[in-house]
């Protein structure tokens, strides 16, 4: 290749590269701007909130949203989500181990029904579950809410954990069986520490699902002091008057924990969620 052609090629490539980089930056801007804006706006006074150039820093939005009782909603969400995720994870780890390591009758059918749960529209379940809970006096009850969140988390948790378990060598548990360990000892003492990253990713995903769940919460939790964060947040965004200061502070408080959990776990979660789809 002579020098002229080389230069031409590089020049063209450079132009193409700059276009690509600009497109990337524009895409990244669109992806990040909305969330970044929520966090920035939550520290601006409501008067300067929508002004592009003006900027007055304040903590007042956070103070006022806490005075409006958002602390209670945070606590509700935390207790409900952490409780549900712990229960769902314990149940799912045991079941995933059985599906991954054991042969038993109707295994294919049973695993299929678990997967089927993932595809089921929740909206169809809301009405009958609401009727049943209303008749049994279980509305506005933490345990009934946990029953819902554990049940919705279990199908995909089992699916993801079975995927992670494939990467744990079977020779380890076979050695433990020879040493006389029970199945639960094998799961919680040997397999659990090895697949902890996968379990954490699964639990995080379940947590996020509960953290932002709206539909069941709005049907089942009708009392003010029982409401979770998404419900309270949407109430600030009222029909006629929107208290933007409260909305932004509450939105930022709802987003920050999930953002902080996602960043370190992204690789784990993607590899789990798309397990199988990547393999040929």
């Amino acid at each position: 290749m002579n020098a002229f052609a080389l230069g031409r090629r590089l020049g063209l490539n450079l132009l193409g590269e700059i276009v690509l980089v600009l497109v990337t930056l524009a895409v990244l801007f669109v992806l990040v701007y909305p969330t970044a804006w929520v966090i920035v706006a939550s520290f601006k006074t409501p008067e300067t909130m929508f002004a592009a150039t003006q900027w007055r820093f304040t903590f007042q939005n956070y103070v006022s949203v806490m005075q409006a009782g958002f602390g209670r909603n945070i606590l509700n969400s935390l207790v409900l989500c952490i409780g549900s995720v712990l229960i769902a994870t314990v149940i799912a780890v045991n079941a995933a181990y059985a599906f991954s390591r054991k042969r038993f009758a109707f295994k294919r059918f049973l695993f299929g029904s678990v997967l089927f749960g993932q595809t089921f529209p929740w909206i169809i379940l809301v009405t009958p579950i609401f009727i049943l809970f209303a008749r049994l006096g279980l509305l506005n009850n933490w345990l009934s809410m946990m029953f819902v969140y554990v049940s919705v988390s279990i199908p995909f948790s089992i699916y993801l954990l079975v995927g992670y378990l494939k990467a744990v060598p079977k020779s380890l548990d076979e050695a433990a069986i020879i040493d006389g360990a029970t199945h639960f000892q094998i799961i919680w003492k040997i397999v659990f520490p090895i697949m902890l990253p996968g379990i954490v990713a699964t639990a995080t995903y379940a947590f996020l699902l509960c953290w932002s769940e709206y539909l069941f919460a709005v049907a089942i939790l009708t009392q003010e002091e029982m409401k979770t964060m998404p419900l309270a947040l949407y109430l600030y965004f009222g029909e006629n008057v929107t208290e933007w200061g409260n909305v932004m502070a509450a939105s930022a408080l709802t987003t920050l924990p999930t953002l902080l959990m996602f960043l370190p776990l992204q690789t784990q979660m993607v590899s789990g969620l798309s397990a199988g789809s990547v393999k040929q």
Binding site: W37, I91, T119, T127, F130, I131
Partner: protein, 323 residues
Amino acid sequence: MASHSTASAVPAPAVSGRRKRPPSERGFLFTALAPPFFLLICFYVYPTVFNVENSLTDLSLFGLRDGGEWIGLENYVELMTSPDFRRVVWNTVVWLTVVGVSVRIVLGLALAFLLNSATLKRWRLSTISRILLIVPWATPPVVAIIVWRWLLDPRVGAVNAALISLGIIDQPIAFLATAGWVWPAVITIITWNTLPLVTLTFMASLQSLPHELIEAAEIDGASKWQVMRYVYIPHLKPAIVIMVLMSTFWTFNNFIYIWLTTGAGPGTYTNVMATEIYIKAFIEGRLGYSSAAGVVMATIMTIFGLIYLRVIAERELKEEGEA
């Protein structure tokens, strides 16, 4: 099979076959599998059956204790003959699902190729892009909806302000309240919130493609288009299939995006099956009719579900064969 587990406390001799089961096998399987299946039956199976039963009555939200009168298939007849319900099905299938999922898959593929390109690696933008790509995914849908409702607001929203200052429009557009704009606006919001997972999945798939394959194709004189058609697309196909199916469930079944963005409006213009079921049950109080709509929705979803199971089952079979 059972004969192995009957011999109780006798320790298995070291030389016995590998298939020999310890006596606790059945107990373990029961303890491990009973809780999830108990929950699945209580949460999915029983309410579904109960829903079918309710769909044959005129049960009302305001007469829950009295129960409903048996009216046979009347609710279904009303559903099938209602032009409103036909519109709802059209909105759900065509706008929300077909358009929504296609946009997500196409943009996801484009973005995966972009973020995976050698150019970005040279400009040291790969890592930062990957981190920033997570942001919309980590934003809870309620927050995403609120911020986008502000962005698209005709009075204070940034999108209108930007379009006006660029001279593209003169008058602000109420994107979420204008028939011609509301579907594109809703799909924008859903796409923004769900694009990262799709993109990251495609990126993971792209990275597992051996580089030699592309080089070999290029040496053989394949054009860019041919490399795309015969190397990239076949490699990405499993990821595309899974993402199409999963996005279909998520979108078809989703309630919150439509309900909190437009409230099924303007009027009932963006009403979809999930919001229709909710409105009929909790606003109009017609639980029987709402249940019938739910049965129709479950039936449509079951078809997708069976396709999904087939795809997954085939993959699992393949892997077991390899192992």
